[in-house]
């Protein structure tokens, strides 16, 4: 860029920018000698350089091409320049500051102390340094400097031609930035309160700037602004801890939560125990609100291992309290009850199946096999020989408390045909002071569901339609028990004004039509040894009675000795007509059977005389109308028709008293009678002279009571040792024609 004068080849201006250019044209430097000549040093120079060496450069032709100092003004500048060059050549390091601290070199040309812009100066010493090392160029100084010096001394003179033709280097550097207008932009949130104002301002500005497009007063001008240095900032925070949870919810869990919230609030107290509950991994549903079902807690303890640990650690204290609370809870008793029945049913299953006329499962258990075999073989034997009715003992209701007591009465629950009430009286028939009532369930033949001790020997029991149990006792007391709950609620007739004086021989609940309305209400009827038949009404917690009938002594028997006191004769039994509930039969001690009506309290409708001894039982036939049986202590059983005053038939002639009697509910011609020594089953269809089946009693133990089962062909027999035996009646021949016709045919044939 700055050409070198041709005539001064050996002296070159030391220029930064043209050094490269110069080097090409100059002869190559052959050698480079560094001599250590001491140079003058200006006192105000910086002390950085302590060079005392003089460097002499020779080219190929041994010409001295040592760069000369730029100027030799007062020897100082020369020294400075030489020093400067030496510094450059030797040190190889450029210090802009030292050179610029008064040196003419490296400074803006304006600050050259020579006052002349002819002096070359390097713009940057760094680049010069490099150039010097690479190549050398002659410095044209010695001749020039005096010229320059000469010129300076004169001050301002006219510029010579030489000077004009000289190439002058102008150095341009950057000044610091001046800030003319600093209008920093403001940033504001859109949600800020005065954002609206700002937005409007912006809007207005945009519109006005658009309007000014054609306006001459305003010119759009672009300016480059400084971009601020970007600084990265980092903020460290604690990491957010995350945990994964998973819950599997079952439909019933959701149902519990939605519907069962109120119910389970009461049981929240049990919840803390549930949290350690071992959990199967399958049902890991969350416990919604304390639902305490076994499968709804959210712990994850493995079952077996935790159990073993707990066992090993011996958590005895909590288990004791648990035991107490569990054992005393009602649910536990209920569970025990059900469990007992299940356990017993396992062994009693074939017998109960036979009772209920269900097929006995083969292979259920070995017991069933045996029983089945027995029954099969028995039946087969029977079938092979003849189809004769058989009695099989299925099981025996017996328990500890009732052992040794005599069964006096039995009754089925009308609502639940599985429940049987049995009345016991203690000891032999003479000494009877205490009584017992047991409510048995068919499902538990080993232990009664309820045990109700009574003050006096129980003579009669009967269930009402509402499952109230009426108990008649020997002391004339009648107690009505409500058996719905576990506690014993009973109403006694002791407080009533009108009670029986003697033993209550029989009780019966019967539906009666109320006089004014057509409603039917059930009331209790009793017949007692004092000769009164009473109807009892239950009010709130007491019962009241009205006298229904007075059993007067018949005059024909006791005519001679009219005992004023013994006007009445004791009634032993009674039975209501199966369809017309207002008509009933009653048997007396005299052996008379009276037919009475509830509406007529003064007179008997009819009297049947045949028996000589007290009538122990009368029973209407439920299937054939107007037929009834009566049994008495004289050992005979007589069959009567309602309208005829004479007995149609008489059965049995043994002298043993008949204790109890009953018609079969399913077969019109079958009835059973219990004498003390045996159970007799009569079938009028097959044999009117002898009982079809005779079951002798266990020797020493007399039978005392009989009850048919309403739904199956079973007979219950109670004996004097407190046992109630269930017999299955089978193979009773059933004719094709209707039973009523059969019976009537029999009657006609007998007559």
């Amino acid at each position: 860029m700055m050409p070198v004068s041709q005539d001064k080849q050996r002296r070159r201006t030391l220029l930064l920018k043209s050094v490269q250019h110069c080097s090409r044209t100059s002869s190559s430097v052959r050698s480079f000698v560094l001599t250590g000549a001491h140079t003058h040093r200006a006192p105000h120079k910086s002390s950085v350089h302590t060079q005392k060496q003089t460097v002499r450069v020779f080219d190929e032709e041994n010409n001295d091409v040592t760069p000369q100092p730029l100027s030799q003004d007062a020897g100082v500048t020369q020294a400075e320049s030489s020093r400067f060059l030496q510094d450059e050549l030797s040190a190889g390091s450029v210090s802009l500051q030292t050179a610029g601290s008064g040196s003419f070199t490296g400074m803006p040309c304006s600050s050259s102390f020579l006052g002349s812009s002819r002096i070359s100066s390097q713009s940057t010493l760094g680049s010069m340094n490099e150039e010097i090392e690479d190549a050398f160029s002659k410095l044209e100084l010695h001749t020039h400097i005096p010229d320059v010096r000469g010129m300076k001394s004169t001050g301002k003179e006219a510029v010579t031609e030489d000077q004009l033709s000289e190439i002058i280097n102008v150095c341009i550097t950057e000044t610091e930035s001046f800030s003319l207008l600093d209008l920093p932009s403001t940033i504001m949130s859109v949600d800020a309160d005065d954002a609206e104002v700002i937005r409007q301002r912006n809007q207005r500005y945009m519109e006005s700037s658009k309007n000014r497009a054609g306006d001459d007063r305003f010119i759009n001008r672009w300016m480059q602004t400084l971009n601020g240095a970007v600084k990265n900032k980092q903020v460290q925070s604690t990491s957010v801890c995350t945990a994964d949870t998973a819950v599997s919810v079952t439909p019933w869990d959701m149902y519990d939560f939605v519907c069962g919230v109120g119910e389970e609030k009461a049981e929240v107290s049990a919840e803390p125990k549930r949290t350690e509950h071992p959990q199967a991994s399958l049902t890991s549903s969350k416990c919604a609100d304390g639902s305490i079902s076994l499968g709804s807690t959210a712990s994850s303890v493995s079952a077996a291992s935790s159990l073993k640990e707990l066992e090993a650690s011996g958590a005895v204290v909590s288990t004791d309290s648990d035991l107490q609370s569990i054992m005393l809870s009602d649910k536990f008793l209920l569970s025990l009850d059900v469990m007992e029945k299940c356990v017993l049913l396992n062994s009693f299953q074939p017998r109960l199946a036979a009772y209920r006329q269900l097929p006995v499962l083969k292979g259920w258990s070995d017991v069933s096999e045996i029983v089945n075999q027995e029954m099969l073989s028995h039946r087969e034997a029977e079938e092979r020989s003849s189809i004769s009715p058989t009695l099989e003992c299925l099981w025996v209701f017996t328990c500890g408390p009732s052992e040794g007591w005599s069964v006096s009465s039995m009754a089925w629950n009308k609502n639940n045909p599985d429940i049987l009430a049995v009345g016991y009286s203690e000891g032999s028939s003479t000494n009877q002071s205490a009584g017992l009532v047991c409510c048995w369930s068919l499902k538990n033949p080993r232990w009664p569901q309820r045990i109700l001790p009574c003050d006096s020997a129980v003579t009669s029991v009967d269930f009402s339609a509402l499952s109230q149990l009426a108990v008649g006792m020997k002391d004339g007391n009648i107690t009505i028990h409500t058996l719905q709950s576990q506690e014993d609620c009973s109403i006694s007739s002791r407080d009533s004004s009108n009670t029986h004086v003697g033993p209550v021989w029989q009780l019966r609940w019967s539906e009666q039509e109320l006089s004014l309305s057509e409603e039917k209400s059930e009331s209790l009827f009793s017949v007692g040894a004092d000769g009164w038949i009473r109807q009892w009404f239950v009010h709130n917690n007491s019962i009241e009675s009205i006298d229904l009938m007075r059993l007067k002594r018949s005059h024909s028997v006791e005519k001679k000795t009219e005992n004023v006191l013994a006007v009445q004769t004791a009634g032993c039994c009674f039975d209501f007509h199966p369809t017309d509930h207002s008509v009933y039969l009653t048997g007396t001690v005299e052996g008379l059977i009276h037919k009475c009506s509830c509406s007529n309290t003064q007179q008997f409708l009819e009297t049947y005389r045949k028996h000589l001894c007290p009538v122990t039982c009368v029973a209407w036939n439920t299937l054939v109308p107007d037929l009834f049986l009566s049994s008495s202590s004289d050992g005979s059983i007589k069959l009567w028709k309602q309208d005829q005053p004479d007995a149609l038939m008489s059965f049995g002639s043994s002298l043993r008293a008949v204790c109890d009697l009953g018609w079969s509910p399913s077969c019109a011609s079958v009835f059973a009678a219990v004498r003390e020594a045996q159970l007799e089953i009569w079938d009028l269809n097959s044999n009117i002279l002898d009982p079809v089946v005779v079951q002798p009693a266990v020797p020493g133990v007399g039978m005392s009571s009989l009850l048919f089962c309403s739904q199956t062909d079973c007979v219950l027999v109670g004996d004097q040792s407190g046992q109630v035996t269930v017999y299955l009646l089978s193979n009773l021949r059933q004719g094709d024609s209707s039973q009523v016709e059969v019976v009537e045919a029999i009657l006609r044939s007998a007559a």
Binding site: P251, K273, P278, S306, I326, M327, L328, F332, V338, V367
Partner: protein, 99 residues
């Protein structure tokens, strides 16, 4: 509240019945609190049957949330295990009906 004597008596009656091998009463946490078997068997029965009862109950209630499990009987070759599940306890009876 039921009488403790009645409860004890009933439990003894069950244990004395023909074929009953043992009974276990398990509390809510799966710990047998009263048993007639040896301890290790009782613990094993309690743990295993509790799981099974939970699963059975869950199955029953999944079908119909208004339904609930009342009794569980498992008949095997050798015994029959009967479980009466309740909210806060489990009554287990093992019986061999073939005796």
């Amino acid at each position: 509240m039921a009488q403790l004597a009645d409860v004890e008596e009933t439990l003894k009656r069950i244990e004395a019945h023909k074929g009953v091998i043992g009974t276990v009463v398990v509390n809510a946490e799966g710990i047998p609190i009263r048993t007639s078997l040896d301890n290790s068997s009782a613990v094993q029965y309690a743990g295993l049957l509790q799981d099974l009862t939970m699963r059975a109950r869950s199955s029953v209630r999944d079908m119909d949330p208004q339904n609930d499990l009342t009794f569980l009987r498992i008949r095997s070759k050798k015994h029959e295990i009967m479980v009466s599940p309740e909210n806060n306890f489990l009554l287990i009876v093992i019986q061999n009906p073939c005796e």
